[in-house]
Symmetry: C2
Subunit: 150 residues, 2 copies
DNA sequence: AATGAATGATTTGCTGTCAAAACATTGTAA
DNA sequence: TTACAATGTTTTGACAGCAAATCATTCATT
């Protein structure tokens, strides 16, 4: 549903673009969560484990920076993953402020088993757009993001 | 940070497009939340009040459908708005299953005071893109969303 | 009138999310 | 060596978000 606001054209355009961005994001995430591979993990758990799988063990603070989550949120997500035996916390010996997060064997097996289907779902979702369209979309989103973060 | 996954080109492209979409959405929302007008309302509270402001009183279930939130989430968001005196629940006289959500005078004044700056922020954010680019972005996002929801 | 299906809202249980405060540890300057 | 700043993590408090179950109400059928 587009905005019902009636103002200047650039205001209506900005509000509508925001709505479309928000709706698209919701749709993509809902579709990903419907994949059978996402029955066992929440989006944040998946992102955390994916980062550990591809980058190796990471300091908790560093992990949070990579997947753009706050320190306190990382504590909660890792608490739940640890509780399920999917990761292990390990205090750094050189700097005891730091906790290194490792995937356990169980965690590694799980992410290895769900990642292919997740990737397949992702390809399916974005195949609605041609290669050129995906590139254009990515470029515009980057431009938008860069402008905000400067 | 793009994906570190090394797979087929269409897989890498899909994952990267997803990351860009996710990052852009996070950036836009963080920027909106930094606006002084968003000190008093959360994103969902704002969306709820904006919908009520532009569309008039709505049945709770209908409101949830419009802003794409679940029934249980609507209960929580409206609980908090009601607690703050910004909305009022009113049982429908014709169908007592339904609760009509109204903005209170206080709520109306608040949304009227924050909406202009919110809109201005939105325009500022999206002015990173030209009109043509915003239109292209919107079209691609719509195409993506439509494909998923069919 | 009675019964079951459908609908709207709440509750329960769980996870996520963040800012601010608090705590523990390390680094730096005096 | 001491004091303070900086850093990493947790805790606290609050709100968001959803699925499933539950409750109340309405609708349709018999």
């Amino acid at each position: 549903m587009p905005t019902h606001y009636k103002g200047k054209p650039e205001e209506v355009q900005a509000l509508n673009t925001y709505i479309k961005l928000s709706r698209a994001m919701d749709s993509v995430q809902a579709c990903l969560l419907n994949g059978s591979s996402m029955k066992e993990l929440t989006i944040s758990q998946f992102g955390t484990m994916e980062a550990l799988y591809h980058l190796g063990p990471l300091c908790q603070n560093e992990l949070g920076s990579k997947i753009l989550k706050s320190n306190s949120n990382m504590t909660t997500v890792i608490d739940n993953l640890e509780k399920r035996g999917l990761v292990r916390r390990e205090r750094d010996t050189n700097d005891r402020r730091m906790i290194i997060i490792n995937l356990t064997d169980t965690g590694k097996q799980l992410i290895e088993s769900v990642f292919p289907e997740h990737t397949k779902n992702m390809v399916k979702i974005f195949s609605a757009l041609s290669n050129e369209e995906q590139k254009t979309l990515g470029d515009l989103l980057r431009k938008l993001g860069k402008s905000i973060n400067n």
